[in-house]
Amino acid sequence: MTIWEKMQKIDRRILYGILVVCVCIGLFFPSTIRTDPDPSSKSFYAAVQKLPKGSTIIVQTDWTNSTRGESLGHFENLMRLLMNGEHKFVFYSAADPAAPQVARTVLARIVAERKSQGLREYKVGEDYVDLGFFPNAEATNTSMGANLKAAWAGRKSKTPSGTEIDIFKTPVLANVNRIEDCQMMIVITASQSIDIAVQRLAQKIDITALVTGVVGPTVLPFYQSDQIKGVAVGLKGVYDIEYLMEYGIDDVKIEGQPYATAGKEGPVPKTEIGTRFSRGRQYYGTLHVALTLLILAVVMGNVAMFAARRRKGEKV
């Protein structure tokens, strides 16, 4: 058996071992990598950063830990962006019963992080409202578009003092009567729930999205047709947003020289306070390693196949 034939029949456990070792090494050495953020990520960042201070945002969080590699970073970045902009927000899930609890845990961590940095502490019932889970995305989004007050009627929120209050009496939703009174809806999802949100609500409110790499290609048509104002896709999207938080956007000039501005976002400032690089930076190097490994696997597999065929005298 030649080396090429041996390579064709390599034990899968060897491949698994190589993957584990390569990926794990990358995780221990997070590094800031220069990158060129995707246009859709830039649009997302610009849309959120251009919101007036203290805007009211609807966050539909439809992810759980099965996609934490991407969605956790997305959610953390979003929370930091919203808190830096002093925006008020409501969050709920219309896709997974476990999603609100996952979001609560992450939110509590970000609140604690900001507190330790001496930044203003976000408080439930004052700065954000937790609406929990709605079992049917189709019906929920349709109701929200028809009559937001009725769709969320009777929901209570805790207050910083521990008492309960109707959500529409909280400072978050006090001035909200219909969905058009909110400035943006942001969907963080690992499923097709973004499709339903776009179908039911895109004509009433600006929608942006933070999605996984698998869902990304199905969302990009909405971005191209301007039905969503921006979308960060996958782990690259997580890193893009962190990179933009660190450096901002300056599409107008590159190294001081004028640059094409058509279709560009123009200057959008970086974030001045709080954490900027986090999960994306931690995982992005590993993504490079994993992709390199994948490309090598494809190339080696094909080289081995062609070499084995040539040796056997088959037509290549």
Binding site: L15, I33, T35, T105, E138, G162, P221, A297
Partner: protein, 308 residues
């Protein structure tokens, strides 16, 4: 736990579909209860050959508000909360708009019941398995134990946090009780971590499949591989940045802006916007048309599967 007053308090404005707490509401509740009992009794007495029509009728009624609300003409910028209809057509439009919320609520409640049916079915199947000591009955014990523990600690944790923590003390971990720790351990410590682990296994299969199955055997496979390669390279920021900077410099030195087209991310953008997105859009149109046709068949009772 004062759930009943909380549920009654959900109505914020009165309409055909909703009543504020009072004699009329209680009257409707009693009537609804009696009607529900009567309906259940009547349904149990429906002959087998008529059951299909019962299902078809309910399916039609369930879909009707959404279809009617979508098709019925309404003023473009109607504000359903502050404006009043000017004529009969608008009145129907307003009526249908008001129906969206209660219909949505009913759908959510039915979905909740479906979850309940799922739980019941799961528990029944595994209890039977344990009782008869069928194959792998040990796994059924594990499932039932996890089910009871997760539901028990989860509910108690919710109850404590919602109704017994007036000062918000439980937001600080130091104040947690055994129940809070147990819920956190089960949900965050076990369930969520196993969820992540299951999903991460895909990476191993992808690598193995890439090595063994992704072969250049035809023109189509070659085109697909080239596209995939460009898109994968585009995800590697270090590479695209270095290559992009080199191209920028070259374009600047030679004053040849055409060279900018050879950046990896320009290739990837072109592939996405010119090839991938239109293809996905075409697929979406096809799927949409199919779903519309199937939806219509189901709604109008023309589809025999599922209702016979």
């Amino acid at each position: 736990m004062n759930l009943f007053p909380m549920m009654l308090g959900q109505v914020v404005e009165e309409s055909f579909w909703k009543r504020l707490p009072g004699p009329a509401l209680y009257g409707f509740l009693v009537l609804g209860l009696l009607f529900g009992i009567g309906l259940c009794f009547a349904l149990s007495r429906v002959p087998s050959n008529m059951r299909r029509w019962v299902i078809v009728s309910f399916t039609f009624l369930a879909g009707l508000p959404y279809v009617a609300a979508y098709l019925w003409p309404i003023p473009v910028a109607a504000d359903f909360q502050t404006e009043i209809p000017r004529n009969g057509v608008e009145s129907v439009g307003f009526f249908l708009n008001q129906a969206m919320d209660p219909v949505g609520t009913i759908t959510n409640i039915i979905q909740g019941f479906l979850l309940g049916v799922g739980f019941y079915s799961l528990v029944r199947i595994h209890l039977t398995k344990v009782k008869r000591k069928q194959e792998n009955w040990g796994f059924s014990i594990v499932l039932l134990t996890c089910f009871v523990l997760m539901a028990g600690f989860g509910l108690r944790d919710w109850q404590i946090r919602t109704f017994m923590d007036d000062t918000g003390a439980l937001n600080v971990r130091d104040n947690w009780t055994f129940v809070n720790y147990a819920q956190d351990f089960l949900f965050e410590g076990l369930y969520q971590q196993m969820d992540s682990a299951m999903f991460s296994m895909i990476a191993f299969f992808i690598l193995s499949a890439a090595y063994r199955a992704f072969r250049v055997r035809s023109v189509e496979a070659t085109v697909m591989m080239a596209s995939a390669l460009i898109l994968m390279l585009n995800l590697m920021g270090a590479l695209t940045f270095a290559q992009g900077s080199a191209i920028n410099e070259l374009a600047g030195n030679t004053n040849n802006l055409f060279l900018l087209n050879f950046k990896i991310n320009t290739f990837a953008d072109w592939l996405r916007s010119t090839m991938q997105i239109p293809a996905i859009r075409a697929i979406d149109f096809g799927v949409g048309l199919g779903a519309l046709a199937m939806g219509l068949r189901l709604w109008l009772g023309l589809e025999k599967g599922g209702v016979t």
